[in-house]
Amino acid sequence: MKITNNIVESHGLKLEEYSKIKQLLSREPNYLELGIFSAMWNEHCSYKSSKIHLKKLPIKNKNVIQGPGENAGVIDIGDDDAIVFKIESHNHPSYIEPYQGAATGVGGILRDVFTMGARPIALLNSIHFGDPKHKKTKNLLNGVVSGIGGYGNCIGVPTIAGETKFNSTYNENILVNAMAVGWVNKKKIFYSKAKGINKSVVYVGSKTGRDGIHGASMASAEFDENSEDKKPTVQVGDPFTEKLLMEACLELMKKDSIISIQDMGAAGLTSSSVEMAHKGDLGIELDLDKIPCREEKMTPYEMMLSESQERMLIILEDGKEDEAKNIFQKWDLDFVVIGKTTELKNLSLKFKKETVATIPIEALSSKAPLYDRKWVKTKFNKNKIKVKDLKKIKFEEAFLKILSSPNHSSKKWVTEQYDQMVMGDTIQRSGSNAGIIKIHNKDKAIAVTVDSSANYCKSHPLIGGKQIVCESWRNLISVGAKPIAITNCLNFGNPENPEIMGEFAENILGMKQACEFLDFPVVSGNVSFYNGTNKNNIYPTPVIGGVGLIKNLNKIFNHHFKKIDSNVLVIGKTFGHLEQSVFINQLYNLNEGMPPEVNLLNEKNNGEMILKLINAGLINSIHDISTGGIILALAEMSISSQIGVKINKPKKLSNLSEYFFGEDQSRYLIEVDKSNYSKIERLFKDNNIYFDNIGITQKEYFELDKELKISVKELYDINNKWYKQFNGTDC
């Protein structure tokens, strides 16, 4: 077939890129080769627009075993234990078919983790939908939630934390980010780097069908009106087969037969084989007649670009084929030697005894295009909002409106569709500051959280980038964990637009500052560009997945008030920052001004002080203060415990709404015994920690001076009613 400009463009390649291909090959590619280039050179696989910015992020500290560039990041948590984790997006497939899109997103991220030899121990997710009133939202929401549950529940990994948010910016482009966390013995970590010539390349798992051909290119292009009709064959997730594949791989990994292993994710067989060869600095030759196919008459093009799920590529030590084959047969899975590693550094494909493609590995990897795209600084809106100028809304009304809103109402209707207890090690389930999983049969645990704040990132990408890393840090601290490292999923609009690229570049800078200051490096992640439709780009939405270590199982905390008659303190200074707050956004529909600034020094001091108090056994419960301010955080502490609180107006209060709804950063609420109060006060003074003593826990009532008095039971109902009304059912 003659390659025309149309064909090139329909593969998502620019004409300049095509010229570069011809130059690298010193000839024209054939159709199959063009397909392979398009799969490897698209944004999703090549990170061509993001790489130069991502390089700025810190990726090491004393705990990091493996940073970005492998299937997932790995951190050391002492003894022989290591934690493997990564977050990934599956936004576009989930918009097209919400159940399968979300399910295969979970499946993909789980494979990234068990490919490294780790048994997955927890799943998390961050899902963003459009306005609840938008006609598509209900269907997308219900489909995504049941897809995430359907996959995780079946494979038997608990889903223990996450966030579900709504904003009209996602009306035509939802976000579905899934994170998986696994445990591995640090002496038995597996990597994708091939080693040795003439080693068997083995295909294991499901058969190859015509699923999602060019899914990776779909994820790298904007939607237009026609994209719903142009649906490529959607991948269907098969969690049952994945469970078998996981058990079979983990069983084989106990032996010494695997040289390297890589899952077939986006761009399937193509990216997995190129990746392994590139890292090993060698070539791979595949015999496509041997590929297990689900459909008849599949072409080499389809085989190489298929995104059928639940498949892996393994390079085996000599003479281990039979041992490995027996394991895969036990689990009823395909196991076929499909090729070998070669000295010649090419991807070489044979089909019906003919060579159908020969491409130098470096042309597909290190020589892929890299762009320093044009970017411009985001223009800030520095307007200050004066509460006095706004229409007066009664304090109680404002509070209850936020508490019952889609974004701040209880998410039990989501989390109750996820098995949170399977594997028997879940210490803290969804709904608190972070999820906590015990390391099986050990006296330690890890805390995990996912966070995002698109509003802040939109109005000031740099502050937003800092803030979101700090929020993750704060959430881990709030359960008593020492934060160790993060993974990030960077959901942005079209990078060819300099404004969007500017959001990206500045956001990364913000993250870098926070990560460096807090010694909280990035060990894995994923970039998802082209989120938007018809030039309507989504708000920049980086999602941070944080992991922390808990060494003492007796020092674990949640945000539930523990007893009546304890003091409640706010740690950190409240200035009353309302710009970009929920209070202003939701009640006044205003989107002006800058997000709250983050003072990294205070962040660190306050967080470290909290850990000190925890170690000294001086705290009963903790909650970080985030969107909605002090009042929302207090309400969550009451609702989860059914214990009320009598809140005082602070003495130097300028304005009630500013104080209680303000979203200043680096703040925590803690509940402490009265008998410990003076000891804590002294500690704070000695360490320059600002605090307010704002209330005392009490029976039954949530009470703020003369502004508010409401029973906790009623608060619970108000916090839980939204979904019922939205969906017309209980659960």
Binding site: G209, D211, T233, Q235, V236, D238, F240, E295
Partner: protein
Amino acid sequence: MKFAVIITLKKDVLDPQGKVIEQTLEGMGVNNLKNLRQGKYIEIELNELDEKKAYSAVEDMCKKLLVNLIIEEYKIKKI
């Protein structure tokens, strides 16, 4: 007037359930199986005498609700 709607996954879409049922039957000794796909069957009775209208009403239901057109296809039969 009564119709039967048979819904199956499109030809190229993976059918995990069908695959497991097929393997199990083979394991039970069925040795001449060539292919097995699982689907759904729905019976719909309408208060409508005009067959053309009834048929297009059922077709409409398929498109709007019964069938996930992204991964499924359907057949309608009068019974």
